[in-house]
């Protein structure tokens, strides 16, 4: 499932493929879609009427593109080494992330703690809600219909396709991000990482472990 996609041509014709067998991305020579035209019209109006400048819009795009799972990894690593911070994170993950210096805007964030008894996994069945203001843009599979519909019906099967087999007695909690809150999973700290520094620990925290489809792992 993590690698389900349809970019590959399977007709074994190698015309139009790169030397490694991948199709070249088509040039965007087609007409704008309705919503692309609307986005450009709205952006130009906002600039013409003086509400925003092009530089401000681009700065915001840059800010969003610069957010990455590494931010969340630092939050998780801090929670592993600092019990007071962990308590604050579980009480109000947004406030705790801001206190660490992350600019997450108005996002309301809840941290979900994985334990020996409970495994949490996050999905947005209605669209693609994701803690972008902390972790950056979601992976493509997170937005797929397959992940969004199957995770609430057969989470264990979906997790097994990500390579995560959970013990039968462990409870799976699926969090459907339906409204105003965003979620980050606080994975359990692997025993093999005990004693490492906060900075070293951050390298163990993967994006997938903060969505709940993976576990932290030793950096390669």
């Amino acid at each position: 499932m993590p690698h389900d996609h349809h970019d590959h041509e399977h007709d074994h014709s190698h015309e139009g493929l790169s030397p490694s067998g991948h199709p070249y991305r088509a040039d965007n020579d087609t007409d704008l879609s309705y919503w692309q035209a609307m986005e450009i019209a709205l952006r130009e109006l906002l600039i013409e009427k003086g509400h925003l400048t092009a530089a401000q819009i681009h700065a915001q795009i840059n800010a969003m593109d610069s957010r990455s799972p590494a931010n969340g990894a630092r939050v998780v690593a801090r929670a592993w080494v600092d019990p007071e911070f962990k308590a604050a994170l579980l009480a109000d993950a947004g406030a705790a992330s801001r206190a660490m210096g992350f600019d997450i805007g108005p996002m309301h964030l809840i941290a979900l703690e994985n334990t020996k008894e409970v495994h949490n996994v996050v999905v947005c069945t209605l669209c693609s809600c994701y803690p972008r203001n902390l972790l950056g843009l979601p992976p493509d599979w997170y937005k797929s219909r397959a992940y969004r519909s199957r995770t609430v019906i057969e989470p264990r099967k979906v997790l097994s396709e990500f390579g995560l087999e959970l013990p039968e007695q462990m409870q799976v909690r699926v969090h459907d991000s339906t409204a105003d809150m965003r979620y980050i999973v606080l994975p359990a700290q692997p025993e093999a990482s005990l004693g490492l520094t906060e900075e070293e620990l951050a390298a163990w925290v993967t994006r997938d472990s903060m969505i709940g489809v993976g576990l932290p792992q030793a950096p390669q």
């Binding site: 609430v152 039968e168 339906t178 105003d180």
Partner: protein
């Protein structure tokens, strides 16, 4: 506290997933007041609504088809979609 999600099917921008409508769950936590997306999506202004996290047993949603009945789903539901059981 036990609640049932209303089995209503109005048109519009609804943030209550269809698969939870008519289902019974437990209030997990109350989050606070938020704008009602059913109104803000159409530029209407109305009272803010309480947002509540509700926990559902898989068995109560999917019945015998559930992978493991004691696994759970939690979702945010606006209070006007809740009714007492």
């Amino acid at each position: 506290m036990k609640v049932r999600i209303k089995s209503h099917w109005p048109p519009g921008h609804i943030r209550t997933p269809a698969y939870l409508r008519g289902k019974i769950g437990q209030i997990e936590r109350r989050i606070g007041l938020f704008n009602n997306p059913e109104e803000t999506a159409y530029r209407q202004t109305g009272p803010q609504r309480e947002l509540v996290r509700v926990r559902f047993r898989m068995a109560d949603i999917w019945g015998a088809r559930a992978e493991r009945g004691e696994d759970v789903i939690e979702a945010e539901i606006y209070a006007h979609w809740l009714e007492p059981v």
